[in-house]
Symmetry: C2
Subunit: 275 residues, 2 copies
């Protein structure tokens, strides 16, 4: 990441269009973990776009029921540049605010929609032994461009409710092996990978996973765990997703629409995109 | 919910179009919590669309690192109709699989993207004292139809990265008070509500919250906590979001596009939509 402002990051990507690959600068939505602590108690962790963090902390602890009115919150101290705990917000609550034990803490951490807690956990993923996914031959960009249409044709429920995410697994030749839908993007991916695991197909070398929504950090992590070398989405990835894909060797593709897409990492896996 | 199939639910809604309100049947994506347990240990909780649950469990515990290969998973027993614990999947692991303590368990529950654990927690929200939000006069549908365009005009970062969710708070007269963006939909909402809390505006009676993505269970819960009577989104809500909105008296609007929208609950708050 070369340039960084409040909530966007600038990075080099490869843009593929109609057979031509070009290196360009592109913006990514910034994503960083933030843990909220009151004394030694963790109130929750969230993966967020930096900016308005005091509001985020106040809104989170209020809407999750840690506090019930403005007066319960005395102060929020945000991490400064150079702080050892750079992703921790310190919350001072009014003396009479009683923190619930056990169940509450779990609800708070679950409320974060934060799978693993950001950059620190890339190391944790390494310790789990996650390895660079394998692929034998480069993927054909012409085949990749056909996948979103195949996904749309196969999605029936989506058309009726407009509320479901989809994930589908394809062979390198563009054959759809399985499609799963869910209200949660991670769940659709878990169902696809679970199908592959139960049918003895893991690791999924030489396969492509296509997701209907955004290619986020968790989806990248899950793909690498299953040995998938190429993850594609029709939308934008986050900065943390790109960072993880680059560090662990997954080819991450975004904005796969028509005869265009953007390659965020490991472009050597795309035939004739290495420039 | 009248009719229920595997992963969609049918329900009565009010469709507003160009000044005409009609009662129609509409499909919702089904959403139910699922907790995964090995013996007494909770491996995680997720809000998911029912269907392919064995795959979901296998994929979740594999991609989150509970197991590292097919042989580690001996069996998944899914809840049957009438089970007391109807949302619990029982996982049998191979004897040599060692569950990590503490840190791991927290990661698993965080990985679920499940804010509160479904229907059981509607009662919990009641116990927290969440009350029906207040509004003095009905909202004008013509004003509602203008809000998405106001949101789009105010969104600058979204245009550049395509990766950010937005939440904006409006007065009943359609004046935008605050707009916040984030890679996480809940965070954008928390920032808006945190802004209102810190500036002494809570409870937000007579206000409208518009979110760019889906109106999910957690967003409904957060809106009610802040006293917001009307939550609108440009996309579809889930079945659990509709249920919570109906039980706690929030007006939930979806598919707000052009001169059309769908009212899922409390349609009396929309002028001339009560039919």
């Amino acid at each position: 990441m070369v340039h960084k402002t409040r909530n966007i990051e600038l990075t080099q990507v490869t843009q593929w269009e109609d057979g031509n690959a070009t290196r360009v600068q592109d913006y990514l939505a910034a994503e960083e973990p933030l843990e909220m602590r009151a004394g030694r108690r963790s109130l929750g962790v969230t993966l967020r776009t930096p900016g308005n963090d005091e509001e985020l902390v106040a809104g989170f602890i209020f809407t999750e029921g840690v506090i019930s009115r403005r007066e319960d919150l005395v102060a929020v101290r945000l991490p400064a540049d150079g702080d050892r705990e750079r992703n921790v917000a310190r919350v001072t609550l009014a003396p009479k605010v009683r923190l619930l034990a056990g169940g509450a803490a779990r609800r708070f951490s679950a409320g974060s929609a934060c799978g693993v807690c950001g950059k620190a956990s890339i190391d944790q993923l390494r310790r789990r032994g996650l390895k660079r996914p394998q692929s034998e031959t480069p993927f054909d960009p012409e085949i990749l461009c056909q996948l979103p249409e195949k996904l749309r044709e196969a999605q029936q429920v989506f058309g009726r409710t407009g509320g479901l995410h989809a994930a589908a697994l394809f062979s390198a030749q563009g054959k759809m092996l399985v499609l799963r839908e869910d209200i949660g993007r991670h769940n659709a991916v878990d169902k696809v990978i679970g199908w592959a695991l139960l049918s003895g197909r893991v690791p999924l070398s030489n396969h492509v996973l296509l997701v209907s929504g955004r290619g986020g950090f968790e989806i990248v992590q899950k793909s690498i765990a299953a040995g998938i070398p190429l993850l594609a989405s029709v939308s934008a990835p986050s900065s943390l997703a790109v960072q993880l894909a680059r560090e662990l060797g997954l080819t991450l593709i975004g904005f796969l629409r028509g005869r265009r897409f953007v390659i965020y990492s490991e472009e050597d896996r795309i035939a004739s995109a290495a420039i």
